[in-house]
Each structure stands twice: as structure tokens, then as C-alpha cells.
């Protein structure tokens, strides 16, 4: 069936989650009226423009919503936002997708309760709509029951480490707040903490760099506006760009040189480059002597270990001469930078990724790239003070935490705990979760002998089992009838299909009277107005849900007026008096408050949060916790051992933001399945042509059928596929059962495995791509 916006009317009536037809209908009627016959109708309808901040991805671009008769008809970039799109007023295809996400008839609209007590991919949950009061009562009863019979730690939050979720788990008193960062940026967090004394930074000024040395860094290919723009600006000004990536990414395609590196061997290249730069005296000596600690140890280390370009060539296959030449070019360039962002090679892709991440920081430090124009900046966040204590001190009288033993085993990794705020924040570990739940169910102790315990209630916010490596093991654990699962999201998710209660949350386009900040590319402090369309249907914001649940448990005790608090914080940041209206102020100022400090200040490096107060090329903190203080070469875990085995790399399409816009019919139209990209030589072994289907099997023994695209721009020993497909929630009528889930190809890790890598795995990264898959043949 062809789907278009005017078909919403027809869609609204059929099956699935469209429980309340009437409010949906009124929105749909508006959309219908405007859209039939094209835009011409729009001209005599009232038009309004509103500022907001895109929340589809974490680039958080400033945007302008165009409303025609109350319906969002267009989302464009805010030209006043200099950082996301260089003031061009452009946003990416994912951000533009948000208006279709907003009126998606499959959206969650009312709280839902499961009536079929059997859980499984093929079990229809038998949803019935319930009131918010009923939902809060039900959830509070389960939490109360867990706290009273066993203890607060038996409640687990799958929640991001931001203010409201942390308030929620702190009020409950559980140590278990698990989030996705071990499959994302945990390595960056811990490596930055170890070398620079601050958490991660994605604050990099690409546009002024004169040399970009990229390891799997494919932000342009994911159409992330700030990085895309910075990259294009640098390229436009003639920066030299070199990319190491097993496949020809969009970034590699725009580069001057592309090296099809063997997956998991980038560390060898960087170690050799460090050696060349030190031995040939190419480093920025003044910078190193002023701001770096441990240079002599590092110099001795790379030489005693024999990290020469010839040694690196024997590991990664890239000619020693090229490694040497690029190291020299890089160091000689005026403003060289090796950029990093979350899940590139410095992310937790391989067992040696933490060492890589640390080595990449060292490489940047040797050329003076921190706190320099065209370099990495020490984060300027937050612009808003963490304000619970400032504005509502009586509400933050939290109970003591119910111990520190965590289901995901984070307590066994002290560096992680310290790096992410000395235990104040919990970031936890997606890929240990299934292992933890299994251990608890079987009553097995942790490897260090501490006892485990079975979780009773799980509250998941805006996460999906789909994003976990090997999600089937987690799905199986979540089907355990002893676990009460609450899922909060805007859109049906796979984990939601297993839930006992589903709560519908507002999408970012709906958020109003609020603000957003971002640390992703925040070269200076900014605050964006969020002046959206208000909650549609019977949806609520996350903070209202937290209040709703906590008020049932402890009436009034943790009740925070988040709305008033947000306005106070906005006044505080802008510097307005108590009676002034910050929303009006922001509306009058292009929707953005900012405090532009430029250029960066090298003196910021004079007092870093490391023990030496300098950039630690030799990390005293890592040494303290029993890790290698300087990066040491370790091979990846899994080597190819047969001709039908292939390394696997995964990627996001430029049009998908993980799972968030998975159900957009126009996006699905672009690419209805994910593909297996494979080299012609490998394809020939199996007689595969573009368009064929192939059977592949994962290291965990799953057999999957995927469509093939034969390309020359990939190593013959490597295949690539894309994230964001293979959904099993039938309420996603567009996305259901299209393509495969790349997570099904990847092994999850266990606490014991992560501990085995402890000396060089300070960040307990999940080594998510450190595997091989098998091609079985043509399907």
C-alpha cells in the first residue's frame, strides 16, 4: 500500500495502538485538509513559526518549526545557530523526518497495559489502554513491593545519566542505572578522564583544522550537521584529509587518501605514528613541556616496545612508508587534528579500543591539538547549573543507595565509576545486562565472589533491546515473568513489545516552555528555546511521569515542579530577574542564548583535573587502578580463520537515527532493508550478485538472510551492514520485519570476559565489532 500523509485518516482507524481515535482524528483532519491537493491550501491558513532544538540526534541543532493551522508542516535549521550548520539554516534528513514521526499513526498515544502474560517476540501483548492514574498506581505498587520485600536495588533503570532519570533512581535508592555508553562512548569518557581529567569531549573545531587524520570517523556519512559542516568547511579550505576505514565511507570518499585498514588494527598505526613523531622530534616541544606529563616515559615506552612503522605494517598491512609519511605530514601541518566521535574506532568496537582511544588523545596532544583553534576543546558545558540542589533543596533528601553491587558488574571497574563522576552518575553497561540478569536468575555470584540478586522491576526510557549486541539473550531474560517491565517511549519499540506497561512520552517537537543545551559540539555555551506544539493525544513528558510514580510512592516528598524549575534555570543562565519571562526573551533573541568565547584558551590546560594537573601521556590514574598507564598493543580478540569468515563492520545510514525514525514511511522508501556490502572477490566465492539474498551466520549461531550489494570499496575480508532494521514489534506497521537487526550478528560480552581484559580495558567497553561472521551461501 502506498502511504502518504493524507492517508493518515484511513490509517488511524485500523488495529494496532490507535486506541483513542478522536484526538488523533482531529490532528489528522487538519493534516488532511492542508495536504490534499498540495501546499496551495496552506497559503490562506494561519502560519506560525516556533523555535526549538532538534532532539532526533545528539547534534541538537537549532531549528524552526513552521506550523500551518497548528500542524507542523516544515522543520528547517535556525540560521542563528552558528555551530550546527554554520549559520546556513540547514538541518539533516533525520531532523526533517521528525514532523512525520510526530504525526505517525503508530505513535504511542495512551498508557497501555499488557493482558497476555506470556511474553515473546510472537506473543501479542493484548494491549488495553489505561489511565495515567492507573498506570502510576500499578508501577508504584510493583516498586513498593520490590523495595519492601527485597530492597531498592531490585529496581533497575535503563536510563540515560541525565538529571531527571538520576533524580528518579536516587529517590528510589537503587544503584542500578544502566545505560548504553559501553556500546557507544564509554572509552572516550574514561580515556579523557585518565589523560585530561575531564569527561569526554566532542567539542572539536573541525572547520579550522588543516589536516584531518580520521580513523573510521564517518560523521558526514551519518549526516550529523555540526561535524558534517565542520568537515566540509575544512575540506573547502584545503585541509588534507586522510581516512583509515575498512570500507570506502562517505568521509573516505571525500578524503585525499583512503587506507582500507584491517578492522581492529588502527592502534598499531597510531602507536607507530607516535613513535615517528617522537623519534624525529616532530612534536610541539613547547606545548608538550608546558602542558604534558610523562613524555619521557612515553618516548621510552614506544621505543622499548618497538612500535615502528615496519612493525605496524606487519600487523595492519599498510606500508610502513605511508605510515611514516603521514605521521610527518600530520605533525608538520599548521593545525593538525585526529577527530573522534563516539562510536568510531576510539569507541568500544574492539578489545583494544580503549588503548586506541588513549593513543589517539596522545597523538593529538603531541601536536598541541587541545585548546587550540582547529582542535579539541575542553568541554564548555554545562551552561545551566545542576540546579536541583539550588532550587529545590528540600526535595533532594535522597535515601542512601542500597549498596553498590550492580547487576551489570560496574562495581568491578573502579575507573569507570570514577570517570563518570565518582559514583554520582551511573552509566552502566548494556552489554553486561543480559549476563547480569542471567547470573541473578541462576543465583550465581559475580566473579569476585559477591552475591548477585534478581531484579524485580525494570524501567526503560527511550532505549531499545534492538541496540544491544545479541539482543535475543536480553529478550529472553526480559520475558522472565518475575520481572515487571515498564517501557517509556514515543514510538513502539521492540523492548516495548515485551513490556507490562508502556507509557507514551512526548516527542521533542512537542516540548514547550523549556530549553535544551548540548555538549556535543558546544564550542561555547548555548541554550536553545524549546517552544514546540505541546503534548498531543494523551502523552506526557518524562519528568511528569517521574513525578507521577514518585508521588504514588512517597506523596510530595520528591515532587519537583520541573516546569517552574526550568524557567528559573533559564532566567539564571540568561541573567533575568525573577519576574521576567525567559521564553519571551529567547523568542526575541532568535531562540538562542549564547556566550561566545573565542578563540580557545590554552591556559585552560594549566590546571587540569589529573593528578599532575597536566595532560597525562602517562596516566597515573590508570596505573593506580591496575591498568596499563600507557597504550600497549593488544590484538583484537577474533581473527579470521577460514575463507568463509569475514570481519564485520556496521554503519548508520545517513537517513536513520538509530531506531527513532524507523517508522517514517518516506525514509523506509529510501531503503526498505539493510544490505550486506561485500567485495567482488568475496561475492564470487559464493556466486553472489548485487540484489541476491545470502544466508549468513553470527558467532552466536544465528542464521539470517540478508540482501547483498557488491562493492569494490571494501576489504575482501570484511563485510558491512547497517543499523536500524529488523524490528519485531508489530505495532510498527512501516518498520516491522524489514531487513535484519545488525545486533543479531554481534556477540554480547560478559562480566568475566571484560574482567579478563581488565589491564587494558579500563572502560569495560563491549568490543562490539570484535567478531567474525560466516557467509553460508546464496539464499
Amino acid at each position: 500500500m502506498a502511504i502518504r500523509r493524507r492517508d493518515f485518516l484511513k490509517w488511524a482507524g485500523i488495529g494496532g495502538l490507535s486506541i483513542t481515535v478522536s484526538p488523533l482524528l482531529s490532528h489528522t483532519m487538519k493534516a488532511f485538509n492542508i495536504l490534499q491537493g498540495g501546499e496551495a491550501y496552506a497559503y490562506y491558513l494561519p502560519t506560525e513559526f516556533k523555535y526549538s532544538m532538534c532532539g532526533t540526534c545528539d547534534n541538537n541543532c537549532g531549528v524552526i518549526l513552521k506550523l500551518v493551522d497548528g500542524v507542523v508542516k516544515e522543520i528547517s535549521g535556525n540560521p542563528a545557530d552558528e555551530l550546527s550548520s554554520g549559520g546556513q539554516g540547514k538541518i539533516c534528513v533525520k531532523g526533517q523526518s521528525a514532523m512525520r514521526n510526530l504525526y505517525d499513526p503508530d505513535l504511542l498515544k495512551k498508557p497501555l497495559k499488557r493482558t497476555n502474560l506470556n511474553k515473546g517476540k510472537d506473543e501479542d501483548p493484548g494491549w488495553v489502554a489505561i489511565s495515567w492514574d492507573e498506570a502510576f498506581t500499578l508501577i508504584a505498587e510493583r516498586i513498593r513491593n520490590a523495595i519492601d520485600t527485597v530492597g531498592p536495588r531490585f529496581v533497575l533503570g535503563l536510563l540515560r545519566p541525565t538529571e531527571v532519570p538520576m533524580h528518579f533512581v536516587d529517590a528510589i535508592g537503587t544503584p542500578n542505572q544502566v545505560c548504553h555508553v559501553d556500546t557507544c562512548y564509554i572509552t572516550h569518557d574514561v580515556a579523557w578522564w585518565a589523560t585530561l581529567g575531564v569527561n569526554k569531549s566532542r567539542t572539536l573545531e573541525l572547520e579550522e583544522a588543516t589536516y584531518l587524520l580520521c580513523f573510521g570517523y564517518d560523521m558526514p556519512g551519518k549526516s550529523k550537521m555540526a561535524q558534517l559542516n565542520g568537515f566540509l568547511a575544512a575540506r573547502g579550505k584545503g585541509a588534507k584529509i586522510v581516512v583509515f576505514d575498512p570500507r570506502l565511507s562517505v568521509t573516505a570518499n571525500m578524503a585525499d587518501e583512503w587506507f582500507a585498514i584491517k578492522p581492529g588494527t588502527d592502534l598499531a598505526v597510531v602507536l607507530a605514528m607516535i613513535q615517528v613523531i617522537i623519534n624525529e622530534n616532530l612534536y610541539n616541544a613547547a606545548y608538550v613541556s608546558s602542558y604534558c606529563y610523562g613524555f619521557d616515559e612515553l618516548a621510552a615506552h614506544v621505543n622499548s616496545q618497538g612500535y615502528t612503522p615496519e612493525w605496524a605494517e606487519s600487523i595492519c598491512g599498510i606500508p610502513a612508508d605511508d605510515i611514516r609519511r603521514i605521521a610527518r605530514e600530520f605533525a608538520a601541518s599548521e593545525r593538525p587534528l585526529s577527530p573522534a566521535y563516539k562510536r568510531d574506532v576510539g569507541g568500544p568496537l574492539y578489545a583494544n579500543s580503549f588503548s586506541f582511544c588513549q593513543a589517539q588523545i596522545i597523538l593529538n596532544a603531541l601536536v598541541g591539538a587541545f585548546e587550540r583553534v582547529g582542535g579539541f576543546w575542553i568541554p564548555r558545558m554545562p551552561a545551566t547549573p545542576p540546579s536541583l540542589a539550588a532550587f529545590a533543596p528540600s526535595k533532594v533528601n535522597y535515601p542512601p543507595k542500597d549498596g553498590n553491587i550492580r547487576v551489570d558488574g560496574q562495581h568491578l571497574f573502579p575507573s569507570v565509576t570514577k570517570a563518570i563522576g565518582g559514583g554520582k552518575k551511573s552509566k552502566g553497561n548494556f552489554s553486561h545486562l543480559a549476563d547480569g540478569l542471567r547470573r541473578a536468575r541462576l543465583g550465581e555470584p559475580f566473579p569476585d565472589g559477591t552475591p548477585s540478586y534478581p531484579v524485580k522491576v525494570i524501567i526503560s526510557h527511550s532505549y531499545d533491546s534492538h541496540s544491544f549486541p545479541n539482543p535475543d539473550t536480553l529478550v529472553a531474560e526480559l520475558c522472565n515473568p518475575d520481572i515487571f517491565l515498564v517501557v517509556i517511549d514515543t514510538i513502539p519499540s521492540n523492548i516495548g513489545w515485551l513490556a507490562d506497561v508502556v507509557l507514551p512520552e512526548t516527542w521533542w517537537v512537542e516540548i514547550k516552555n523549556n530549553f535544551g543545551t548540548t555538549d556535543q559540539h558546544s564550542l561555547w555555551n548555548r541554550m536553545y528555546l524549546r517552544d514546540g506544539v505541546g503534548a498531543l493525544w494523551d502523552r506526557k513528558g518524562f519528568s511528569a511521569m517521574v513525578n507521577g510514580i514518585l508521588n504514588k510512592l512517597w506523596p510530595g516528598q520528591f515532587d519537583i515542579d520541573w516546569g517552574t524549575l526550568n524557567l528559573q534555570r533559564m532566567r539564571n543562565v540568561i541573567g533575568l530577574g525573577p519576574t521576567e519571562d525567559p521564553v519571551a526573551w529567547l523568542r526575541a533573541h532568535n531562540g538562542i542564548w549564547e556566550n561566545k568565547v573565542y578563540p580557545p584558551i590554552p591556559q585552560n590546560l594549566a590546571n587540569l583535573g589529573t593528578p599532575s594537573k597536566k595532560i597525562e601521556l602517562y596516566s597515573q590514574r590508570l596505573a593506580q587502578d591496575g591498568h596499563e598507564p600507557m597504550p600497549v598493543w593488544h590484538p583484537k580478540l577474533t581473527e579470521r580463520s577460514a575463507a568463509d569468515e569475514f570481519y564485520v563492520v556496521t554503519n548508520h545510514t545517513p537517513y536513520h537515527r538509530m531506531n527513532k525514525n524507523r517508522n517514517d514511511y518516506l525514509i523506509m522508501d529510501l531503503q526498505p532493508e539493510n544490505l550486506l556490502y561485500i567485495h567482488p572477490d568475496a561475492a564470487a566465492m559464493f556466486g553472489l550478485k548485487t540484489g541476491d539474498y545470502a544466508w549468513i551466520s553470527s558467532p552466536t549461531g544465528k542464521t539470517l538472510k540478508i540482501r547483498v550489494k557488491v562493492i569494490k570499496g571494501i576489504r575482501p575480508d570484511t563485510v558491512m551492514t547497517e543499523h536500524g532494521y529488523g524490528h519485531f514489534n508489530r505495532n510498527l506497521r512501516v518498520a516491522f520485519n524489514k531487513g535484519i537487526n545488525d545486533g543479531d550478528l554481534l556477540p554480547e560480552s560478559t562480566v568475566s570476559e571484560s574482567l579478563r581484559r581488565y589491564p587494558y580495558n579500563a572502560a569495560m567497553g563491549s568490543a562490539i565489532l570484535d567478531t567474525v561472521i560466516r557467509i553460508l551461501g546464496k539464499a
Partner: protein
Amino acid sequence: MARKVLLIDSSLCISCRACQVACKVWNDLPAEPGMQEGRCDLPPRLTGTRYTVVKDYEHQNGSGKISLLFFKDQCRHCQYPICAKVCPLKAIEIKPTGAVVIMGNKCNPSRCRTRPCERACIYQVPKFNQELGKMRKCTLCFNRISDGSGRATACADACPTGAISFGDYSVMVQKAYERLNDLLPKYPNARLYPGQNGPCGNTSVLWILTESLSAYSLLIGR
């Protein structure tokens, strides 16, 4: 309103297909389920419900270097459009901007039967739209830019990289040549497309390509 040009600089394209989606939104076109055309099953094609499509090609040059080439296909909007000439119902009009538009109220394929516009177009652009029972193609967004708001086409507004730009004829032609000159040192095969001196005259859509026409499966000389 004066003659306009839509300039597509392939060297800046990241194949994100924001343009393709925005075109569907502006023209209220449905999805085309079941077609694997984004990145597989080449060539993806224009249809009666898809007025523009980003095609990708993998190219290997003489020295073995592999590159990805992206081509945003759509109507070229010719100065002397042959489709308009052959339409027996005179349903195809040339707007002051240079847009060549199939007028929905006049087009009636059940009367002309053979769809001569599609057959005559050297780029095979006009396509039959089943639902409307009419021929359809890119309109150069004549109904978007004529409202005096100074907006560009939907695809140009949506493009995050600046690969698509829209403006007055002479300004844009000059911009195209300047850009080409900038690119030539790095891309010695770079060129403008299509040729401007053919039987259909010059065009209101111009491409800057980084490789030879054959690398984009485009017909030489057109």
C-alpha cells in the same frame, strides 16, 4: 519572475537523500513500498511518484582509485523541451522561471494514449502516475518559488551540504563555472552537465560532475 537555475554540485553530495524526501513532502507523493532502490538494485529510477532520485555509482579510475559518485537525477528543464513539442494536448508549459511543467488539468494520457512526452524525452523523465492517471515529473517547484517568499526549491532547501543551490540564471551559471575551476585541480575529469548547445537548447538544471559522463551512466554528448 526571471529565469532560474538549479545547480547540483556532485562533489558536495553525501547521498543523504534529504532532497529526495523533501521533494516527496512538497509534492505530497506517497512512498513506494517494496522497491529496493536506495542503495541496491541499480539503477534506481524516476517514477510517477518520485520526481527526483539520488543514484550512486562506484567508479574506478585508470590508476585504480575507487570513488563513489552521486547523481541526483531529475528533469533538466530544457529551453526548447521536446516533451512540450510532442504533446498533442499542449499540456506541457514553460513557466517564466524556465520550469517545464506538465499541467495536471490538461494532461490526459488516456486521450493521447502513447505517452509521447516520455518517449520523446532524451532523458526519459516524464512518468505515468497510476493514482492520478497523469504524467508527472519535477516541476522545478514553480508553485513554491512563485509566492514571492524568495524560497528555493524544496530539494535545495533540504540539502544539508549546499550541494544543491538555486538562483537567477546568470548568477548561477557563473557560479557553476567558478566552482568547476576550483574543482579541476583535484578532479581533472570534472565537467558541467548537460551540454548547453543541443537541439533542446540550454537547461535550467545544471550539474557539476567530478568524473566522465560514462562513469555516471549518462549518455555522452547530451
